[in-house]
């Protein structure tokens, strides 16, 4: 139904999807930085750094957008999430802080590569755990009213097999996205082959984990069969495109697969924002607020999309110009 709360919930899901597609790949890049190996080890790391450099801060803002919209439009849900998932979210924040700052320090010659890579590994898992516990209905009303102990209120909701499975799955998806994107960004064939192999391997991992997850957790999150079919098809499409070295196609298919996964989750728990009891409609802020938020989003989008397009065109599409090393990776040479 196209009600105001649903539209805004949809926008939040769009922002989350964009976060997964763009920033997720930046985290995945960190994973490949950690796993860099073989004769082209340092070339792999350099490619990752170049791919992430100009865009990661903009990509990161999608998460902030999702959060501010969540607390503006669905304040009760935000309060509940913040209370119940305090621990994984705080850990995730630490991961975000360390990842981002370690990356710039590394780019500006300060070291910190290890920290960057490790934080890239841990943060997606924590994000997945948080999403997983929302999906599984772990985020209920706790705190002052109830008499549950600390563990029952603040740990048990997220420390579940399902939550951890979603965490690992998120990590695999991010690594897969990054590897596929990097096949497009790599200039030398050798490097392209490196990431093609990594994309195929992580794609297989994503597929396997999805199948396993479906078998084990059907009851926790009843994903629609149609969703399963289209996700499987786009995953296979990505793999087929990789096999034929059609990288642009693979990028599209991989992004589609992950988008469908996120939206599959959204639809599986509709109309609940926080299953099992808080619906989107019940959590919504008063209509004035929603209306204004929608207007802000629309006006913002008018400003945002041209700028984003420009950013991506300058750094991701235009191939005619040689990839100038950012003037910032090393101190200017003495003249």
């Amino acid at each position: 139904m196209l009600t105001l709360p649903n539209v805004l919930a949809g926008i939040i899901l769009v922002a989350l999807t964009a976060y997964v597609l763009f920033a997720g790949a930046d985290f995945g890049g960190g994973v490949w930085d950690l796993l860099a190996s073989g004769p082209r080890k340092s070339a792999q790391r350099e490619l990752v750094a170049h791919a992430i450099g100009p865009v990661w801060e903009a990509n990161h803002v999608w998460l902030i957008l999702a959060i501010v919209l969540l607390f503006t439009c669905f304040p009760t849900a935000f309060a509940r999430i913040a209370i119940t998932l305090h621990i994984p979210l705080t850990l995730m924040l630490i991961g975000i802080v360390l990842r981002g700052s370690a990356f710039v320090f590394q780019s500006y010659g300060g070291g910190g590569g290890r920290v960057f890579a490790t934080a890239s590994l841990v943060t997606p898992v924590l994000l997945g755990i948080s999403v997983g516990s929302v999906a599984a209905g772990g985020v209920r009303e706790v705190g002052s009213g109830t008499r549950d102990g600390y563990y029952a209120s603040y740990v048990a909701p997220w420390l579940t097999p399902f939550g951890i499975a979603v965490g690992l799955f998120a990590l695999a998806c991010f690594a897969f996205l990054a590897a596929v994107y990097l096949t497009v960004e790599a200039r030398e064939t050798d490097l392209q082959e490196d990431f093609r192999r990594r994309a195929l391997a992580s794609g297989a991992a994503v597929g396997l984990m999805a199948a396993l997850g479906l078998a084990l957790f059907r009851t926790v999150l009843p994903v629609h069969v149609g969703v399963v079919v289209v996700v499987a098809m786009s995953l296979l499409g990505a793999v087929a495109a990789l096999a034929r070295r059609y990288y642009a196609g693979a990028r599209l298919a991989a992004a589609l697969a992950v988008t469908l996964i996120v939206w599959g989750w959204g639809f599986a728990q509709y109309p609940y924002l926080l299953p099992p009891d808080l619906t989107i409609a019940a959590a919504a802020a008063p209509p004035v607020t929603l209306r204004l938020a929608l207007i802000a989003v629309l006006v913002g989008a008018v400003l945002l999309f041209p700028s984003l397009y420009y950013l991506l065109r300058v750094f991701k599409v235009s191939r005619r110009m040689p990839f100038a090393a950012p003037p910032t990776t090393r101190p200017a040479p003495p003249r």
């Binding site: 100009p54 865009v55 801060e57 903009a58 803002v61 902030i64 957008l65 959060i67 501010v68 919209l69 607390f71 503006t72 439009c73 304040p75 009760t76 935000f78 309060a79 509940r80 913040a82 209370i83 305090h86 705080t90 924040l93 630490i94 975000i96 802080v97 981002g100 700052s101 710039v104 320090f105 500006y108 010659g109 300060g110 910190g112 706790v142 002052s144 600390y150 004035v288 607020t289 204004l292 938020a293 802000a296 989003v297 400003l303 945002l304 700028s307 984003l308 420009y310 950013l311 300058v314 750094f315 235009s318 110009m321 950012p326 003037p327 910032t328 101190p331 200017a332 040479p333 003495p334």
Partner: protein, 417 residues
Amino acid sequence: MAVSLAFHIIFAVIGIAMPVLMVLAERRWQRTADPTYLDLAKRWARGTAILFAVGAVSGTVLSFELGLLWPRFMAVAGPIIGMPFSLEGFAFFTEAIFLGIYLYGWERVSRRAHLVAGVLVAVSGAASGIFVVIANAWMNTPAGFTLANGAFTNIDPIAAMRTSAALPQTLHMTLAAYAATGFGVAGIHAFLILKQRAGAFNRAALIIGLVVGAPAAVLQPFSGDIAARYVARRQPVKLAAMEALYETRAGAPLTFGPVVIPHGLSLLAFHDPNATVQGLDAVPREEWPNVGLVHVSFDVMVALGTYMALVGLWAGWLAVRRRDLTTERLFLWALALATPCGFLAIEAGWMVTELGRQPWVIWGVLRTRDAVTPMPGLIVPFLTITLLYVTLAVIVAVVLYRQIIRSPGGRGSAPEC
């Protein structure tokens, strides 16, 4: 939360003002083709990149922390003041996008597009600062809703954003950002000139820093006065705490450290030497903020502000008389001394605003203790986050030193050496 904010504000302030300096330098370079300015713009851009990244990640922590620590506050305030936060989100977007283009695009976009990208970074930086401070102003002078039987009705987010403290606070804060950063930069280079030699690089940096910092510093006491008069009308208890005025009285004196100026407070707060100023005795004891801290913080801010304004006037006077600033050693020392002043004043000012508002989160509406998360053991995340920030601050200092400060003045690339 307070630790995160105190940390974040430093980076935020630099993120607001540094792009202005960077763009001014680049513009000078495009005008004069003097490579000193290009070098300056690139170095500043590098510094901005580092600080921006830390500002961005510490800001992310904040947007979660608001909920993690004050879930009840957000549940109440979200629908009312979520608006500026959402707008701020878009300002971040444009800021991050154009900073990416600015930093990595020197060879990829035209000169004009590059400069425009820098200007957009500066504009969106100022906008994001303004939006958050509006949210904070609303906590001081809540508006845009009616409270009936504990429920918030008639919510009007636009009226909430136009709350009466918004204008004075955003004005004061934005000026503070320019004053602090401008003096920070000018002060560092004044120090380098004193220690090494003048050189075109340090001179250019010093002058651009002053061009941004000095006017802001001179205007700052005026905007502070406006802010104080709003506080006097809307939050008399805070004003009383700022001035450590315990008894309500007409023709109230101004106490500043050991100095007492008769009728000063009435004059300042209401522009009338005999106006009645409400003292702390007007409210019960448990509604007092921490008077000692608020009063000291306020005095510190005003002292630093006065000093900076005087240095700013001095710079203006020297400039009008066409004196070479880099040879006035006394002035250079005064300026070098002012390097940290703006940042200290900002921390002190926020202490005034935030501690002066206690025991309320939302003035007169929601008490702090009712807003805090029910989760026990908060000391653990608090210590972790504090430790994280301390580590970060140290690393930032080291990296910045290596990237910017070390090479320009002495050895290295400044062409004039």
